[in-house]
Symmetry: D2
Subunit: 338 residues, 4 copies
């Protein structure tokens, strides 16, 4: 921690800051420059981080030296984490993971039809929402437990794994029973109670980046889960909110190399929600893999025209087949496999 004093800070103010630092068992080092006096603090920064030193009279600013997260960082664990999904499927190794399925589970027929199609095309994980967080209270809110059961059945029949979203701590048990991977959606990235709960499981968690979350906040949300003991976290970049409206969100693909640099956790990309339009899904999926993503999660619907949710961004099964073919070539170009 570096503490910069105001140019007119008094000796008394300096002493007060030094006392506060020493009271925490830390060692201050003072450097008096021509324009500012600076205090460096030796020792674990955490004790100091929670102290609002900025409000002490005479202090101009406080600059942390270390990142605020620990367990998710590469400093803590240098080798990349590979999350095991069972059945020989994993996320974070050489092989890419492909998650696909409808936005929401609407009924048995469309779900099974989609599941079979995406499985045939090469997807290993079936996605589908049973609980739907919808911006409007008048939109379809999901089939709930009925949807969870259908997902489990469809996955069983096709030999896939299931990823589905948990919205409320009260539904944890039910979701846990049917899902292989529990998704925490973008709107719940900072639902800390939910994070703590899934942190106490051993099941893999797919944590989506919040609409307006910085990469640091995203990693801190993951830290909540790891700090409870669950290291099976898969991150997911799904677009951030910016001023551009031609796409629903702005897919921040640079987040991939940034996160690979600072964290050991695997990261996949959602090109469907981020663009909001099926025509942009394939180019963004290819870009994500080229940038180093560990997999994709994609919305597929047998008849987008009547989809109860996210129709405009859903791929037809045949377009998903083409996407996988294209992804295979890009994957090879960057030393990965599908």
């Amino acid at each position: 921690m570096i503490i910069v004093l105001k140019p007119d800070a008094t000796k008394q103010q300096l002493d007060h800051v030094l006392d506060r630092i020493k009271a925490l068992g830390l060692k201050p080092m003072v450097s008096k420059g021509t324009e500012r006096t600076i205090i460096g603090v030796i020792g674990p920064e955490d004790a100091l981080r929670v102290q609002p030193l900025e409000v002490i009279p005479g202090v101009e600013k406080v600059m942390p030296v270390l990142k605020p997260y620990k367990l998710v960082s590469r400093d803590f664990k240098p080798e990349s984490t590979v999350v095991n999904l069972g059945d020989g499927i994993s996320v974070g190794g050489k092989a890419l993971v492909m998650m696909a399925g409808p936005c929401s589970v609407e009924n048995r027929q469309m779900l099974f039809e989609t599941a079979r199609a995406v499985k045939r095309a090469g997807a290993q994980v079936l996605r589908g929402g049973a609980f739907k967080p919808r911006t409007s209270p008048y939109s379809f809110q999901g089939l709930r437990d009925e949807g969870l059961k259908l997902l489990r059945e469809a996955a069983k029949e096709t030999g896939m794994r299931v990823v589905t979203e948990l919205l409320d701590t009260r539904d944890l048990k039910m979701v846990q029973q049917h899902a292989d991977i529990i998704q925490i959606g973008a709107r719940n990235m900072q639902n800390f109670e939910l994070l703590k709960e899934v942190g106490q499981l051993h099941k893999p968690v797919l944590l989506k980046r919040g609409l307006s979350a910085t990469i640091t906040e995203f990693l801190l949300a993951a830290e909540y889960i790891l700090s409870q003991g669950n290291f099976n976290v898969i991150l997911c970049e799904r677009g951030i909110r910016t001023f551009e409206t031609q796409t629903r969100f702005t897919l921040d693909l640079a987040a991939i190399p940034v996160i690979k640099k600072f964290s050991h956790l695997p990261i996949i990309v959602d090109p469907s929600h981020s663009t909001g339009e099926w025509e942009y899904v394939e180019p963004m999926a290819k870009a994500a893999i080229a940038a180093g993503a560990d997999g994709l999660i994609i919305e597929v619907h047998p008849n987008p025209e009547v989809a109860l949710c996210d129709g405009p961004q859903s791929l037809l099964p045949k377009k998903f087949v083409k996407l996988i073919t294209e992804i295979r070539k890009v994957a090879k170009a960057v030393g990965r496999t599908v």
Copy 2:
């Protein structure tokens, strides 16, 4: 709803769109221009809104004519809503409401000291967090039920109302028991399960705008609460996330006249969280009132230097007294009272 066809849309495609519209019991009107064919739809737009018409071949874009919210709109209820807090206190009338208190309840002594100070200064509502949503898992997470009880006691002694945040549906009962106003924080603005729960109460709800929520999404979140039967909603502008980092968030004061135009709900402003620095609280508080806000919610701490949360943005009690004095003048200038 207006549907614009692509310049090369075929007769068949047009007919398909018309069939879809008629199948919903709506009446399409076709206008063929020199450059585009446009279909206007007469009748309730809602049936159409949930249909992904954009994916129908030949459709270029779909433009809704009506706002997606209803119960919160001035079209639905032209006169402004005044939320009654009891004891002659209300929000949305001529008198402004002043909510103040510490970021989090840390202990009995500091809470009571703050409560007495802000009451003396003129605040009617005591704020304080018992459950704290913190970006880092290593930060203070709140005293929970112990904190709720202390808030209730402090409010009772000082004759104030209590506003406190609910983070998780499982805590609803406990929070409901001790709070006069239930706060839904910015990070939970789209925690729809939470919104539905507080929608079933009669208690006033203070709904904070999400960090990256548009005004339309903010009103739709309120619509969730109203649609469950609870019309006692107070909105709160608390800053949105932008590229500017000199303040923690960017306080969007223009949201006040925009919301006053489109909705009947009252709106207050949080100048503490939005700026993140106590020096900016007073000017932004005055600006909020001048812009037409119905009240303020402000962080006050007897010793910000040792605050367990948000010390840098907390006002000392004596600075809060000065703020209220200044607010009184601005309130008078815009025809309001404190």
Copy 3:
């Protein structure tokens, strides 16, 4: 300047950094902590600021201690600058300045009509564009020199000062001849050649904040002008680009106290361009004054329905009269006069 080394930085890398610092005539101070080695640099930071120390192997990050601007800062000049516009009018003192007029000069009749109306209402400075920066090449581009002459005439007749925008260095002479204040628009805030040119004049410059400029970049743009010798700079907050689309831009009123803290320059606010809608102009104008702005610049048009530019956000003269009346009350509440 603080240089933080990577945890695995070698002795050789440390020595290399120290050599680089000493080669610039500066004095490094090394602190070895348990987790990181930190180098503080004593002496003028500027020499180091232009050096890309981040790329030296072993360096994790570089943190500047001082602000990158000098002449515009309160450290350099503690007392607030009052820009003298002549005729007893000034910006930055107790009296607020009111600038008003049409978006663009369209013709003699509408300009004179507007000038007389805003003068009567209490404005001291006549605004109007002769050169118009328009997003579309098919929009009205301004009357150019003809427009400048009309502005001068209208100002002479009504006893007002003229503020008008300069778009291109080639037009400097012409604009300089007719304007009392030269406006550098938001889109040209980082047109550095233009900034250097107006920096060599003695005439007041109205510098508008760029759509996506941070406050620091805004002050650095002003620094360009001051560094050429012209200290008569008036800043103008006019909204930044964010995800919110209900208003054209998001008016960042917190920029006022932030700039007042870090800089001695006066700052006014443009509620017309920032909101883009006349209904929001009055509340935002009042908020700006309450937040501490030194004045306003407002678009007024005698017949917005036929305005060649920015009709939707222009006030009718009678609404401008009402606005000034309301502003007077708010000004009084915060100790200012109109």
Copy 4:
């Protein structure tokens, strides 16, 4: 154009709107719905677009049906534009273009060393700034004409084309003489006088997207150039400003398929300025090509540690060689060549 009336619009107000439309020689069509009256306007939308219909009493909102740009659109020219750079090099065809070189021309030796290295690696166009738009007036501002001459010489020796930035209309002649492609930088994307000037040349123009420009504004800036007669425009995505600070800007790669859909112009990507850190350049370069970009522009410096500008984001020549090798693989995967 669609005009939506307010629910309480009177017959008189409706008639007034209809009169305005007819006066422009356009044909209105009125649809009276249960909730709103809507007026569709048949005929060229442009005449109406410049009219501020929103301010007419009774009008709720105005929704344009057509895009505001013409010449740059695929509606106007369905086949993709290939810009010919001479010597068999072009942008927009199957072969990708590689532009590389230092941020600024610092001296003859470093420039020639870089030029030879990037040419050997496979670049066809030499980039380098002679005029530098720098955020701080105290940063290196470029060698100006001396720099232009060196660029020309280095390009001649190595058999490359030159791309360099024009900052001011007064320097047009000089830049035009030495450059093969004239760059309009991000900060000048809406310097409309500059756009008009390069619109009157036949030389290719590299137009960079503004920091906060929407895709529509970006295409309108290109429209300025095309509307003057110059169709040789190459677009360049270089990152937009968002709240994320781990990278200097947020590279909006989805802009590539969006622009390919709406416009016939080629688009390249700048992974150096957008990320601001050399470690992220290669992954983002690969992602750009996978997303469909027509080429790259990359900063290379023989000794980033002493670069006078943008050192942190410059690649060493040997890293650029590796990047080209990797790009070649990704290009092949998406059916392109380097």
